[in-house]
Amino acid sequence: MTAQPAAIAGGDGTGVSVAAIRAFIGKRRRRSWLDWYAAGFAAVIAALYLADLLSSPLSRLSAAGHTPTQEAATQAVAGSGLVIAAAAGLLLLALALGPLALSPADASWLLLSPLDRRAVLRRAALTAAVLAAAAGALLGVLGLTMAGPYLAPRSASLSSSWLALAAVAGAGLFLAAVAAEALAQPTEHRRRLARGCAAGVAVVALAGAVLGERSTAVSHAITAGFAGLSTSAFTTAAVVALVLAAVAAILTWRLLARFPAAVLRTDSARAGRALTAAAFLNVPLLAWIAEDDHWRGRLLSSRHWPKLPTAMVLAWADWRRLGRRPATLAVLAVSTVAPALLGAATTGRARGFIIAAALLAGALAAGTQGTTATKRDLNDPGLHRMFGVDTGTALTARAVLPALLATAWLTVALIVLAALGVLPGWRWPLLGLAAGPALAAVALRMARTAPINPAEPGIDTPLGTYYPWMITRIISIVFGLIAIYPALRAVHAGHVHGATFIAQIVFSAVVLGGYLMVAGRQQV
């Protein structure tokens, strides 16, 4: 296809700079003092939360030089694994957002223009670099704190110099990794490779943490490695990390000039939607973005609807969706080790709470993977009405998958907890079988709750303003706590006996049966 040049003057010439364009836009951005106040307040709150989050791990550094206990070894191994897995998780998040992305408005008006592409992308690249360096420094420090009791030799000034070097090494490595992702961003197969690498690192880190926990030889090898660390080793790591970061940054900088507009348009639009949704806690929109990103461009083989009772056919959509997303099942399977690792990485009174909370959150997350169609039908009950199934029967059919998912996840997580010795005894998995079905009711309730609407007006009370969506979410959590209270109480206490099973079976029957009976009377 050809189009002959038209008789219009054109051609390249040096135009206005991107800095001048940004100044033009910036001068007209009408920000009130309230915007600045909100930004400042958010920054202060974030700093406070960060300080609180770091205070506990940093206190482990004061243990350097003390005689380490077996528990400390477990914490060091599990904690290190979790830090590496967190780093891999952040890399996956960065990849999902770009990592190079413009604001949607910039992508609309500055991208497909004669402006210098590198200059247009400079701000986005610097932002990504600063965020990557900050996250890397934080992860480096957290990684160091995990090895706290094993650090040697010790001196009064050791912690600060090692902390600085660990922060530099972490920042350099993470920056290099994010820059590598930016280099992979324009090509789909490289992007898949980067995604696979990050996921692989996460899996290996979690597996290493579990292995180190179970195998004395491995944990001793790891902790001996910590003990052998010296200032020169840290310095070398920091220098290597900085060199890697510099090389990756230079390559990325060179790529910016010819970064493809098509990729940026798609990624910027997705990142913009995702960040807006995250800023307004719009979980349904985030879920939609994830679904859209997953299914877009995929070819699915159509199947006939199964010959099952009508209500089960209605519920079958969720089974089919899950069958088409084996990665979700794989992630759920891998995540069953999380409660054990969190339990191994913590001590004291908080330990039981953390394990119980991780079990509740994980099992609920597993259960909600089977309620997508229920959520959809809340907004559009057309399919439900077309089938002519009453709400109670439909809800019962739809409870089967979340019940199976929650039960399976909970049981496997408890098997891992028992196998790793985090929870003593062998009867724990049976508790998972008893408790799982109750969580199906909670997952269904969550799916049938109206989506979060940030624009919804709050309810003023003497104790402050409450938002209906916030209250419904809190009720769901409380419902979950009640549903498996006997199991959570046993996990928190660290021992399980016969009465616990009976109590949990009764709770499950009452919660699930009661929910299906009450909710089944409501119209969709």
Binding site: T2, A7, A20, W109, P114
Partner: protein
């Protein structure tokens, strides 16, 4: 042009002359937008060659100086007014050489005078579509790619837009290729119709006599 294993366009052979207006028509999913994406260089065909303004579409400053694309609904800068946005578009293409319309004229022609100092976010969907199209004419270009420009536009303004494209843009030597479902609009613009079906061109012909 393929999406995975699905072939969307196959055996397309099309030549567009300078100052010509071409309306690509066809049912939903026929490949109209995909064809425009290929011409803009945003998608690469699996086989064959695409030549735009004498060379393959390249994602370069020179290419985007010559080619204007109005496709998806854009995102607006919250702080900029209608007039400021048009000024911004013009700024991004400085030094301005070639046919384009100044912001004041665009605001008048596109019926945005009463909303010239309003934020695009406060406009109706039809007014936003007018602004998107106005922005494409606020800067010089030699090829204008429009994906369903008639969307949300009222009947009367469609005719005015068609006349503007025919008499002023194409009259100044610019080429327009647009995907459209509106035969009357395309006819009023004096476009040559290229109808797509089953991944290929099934018909070509003048639409000038339809409803000018």
């Amino acid at each position: 042009m393929e999406y995975g294993s699905v072939v969307v366009l196959d055996g397309i052979d099309l030549t567009v002359a300078a100052a010509e207006i071409v309306a690509v028509t066809g049912v939903n999913g026929a490949g109209k937008s995909t064809l425009l994406s290929c011409l803009a260089g945003l998608r690469r065909p699996a086989a064959g060659t695409v030549s735009v303004l004498g060379g393959p579409p390249r994602d370069t400053a020179g290419f985007w100086r010559d080619v204007a694309l109005v496709a998806d609904q854009p995102t607006w800068y919250p702080g900029l007014t209608v007039r400021e946005l048009l000024d911004l578009v013009r700024m991004t293409h400085e030094p301005v050489r070639g046919w384009c319309l100044p912001a004041d004229r665009l605001i008048e022609v596109f019926g945005l005078a009463e909303r010239a100092d309003a934020s695009p976010l406060s406009l109706s969907s039809g007014q936003r579509q007018r602004l998107s199209l106005a922005a494409a004419l606020a800067r010089p270009s030699r090829l204008l790619l429009l994906d369903e420009p008639e969307q949300s536009l009222d009947e009367g303004f469609r005719r005015e837009l068609a006349a503007l494209l025919r008499e002023e843009y194409a009259g100044s030597g610019g080429t327009v290729i647009m995907a459209t479902h509106d035969h009357d609009f395309a006819g009023a613009a004096g476009a040559r119709e290229v109808r797509l079906a089953d991944g290929g061109i099934v018909a070509e012909g003048s639409m000038t006599g339809q409803n000018p």
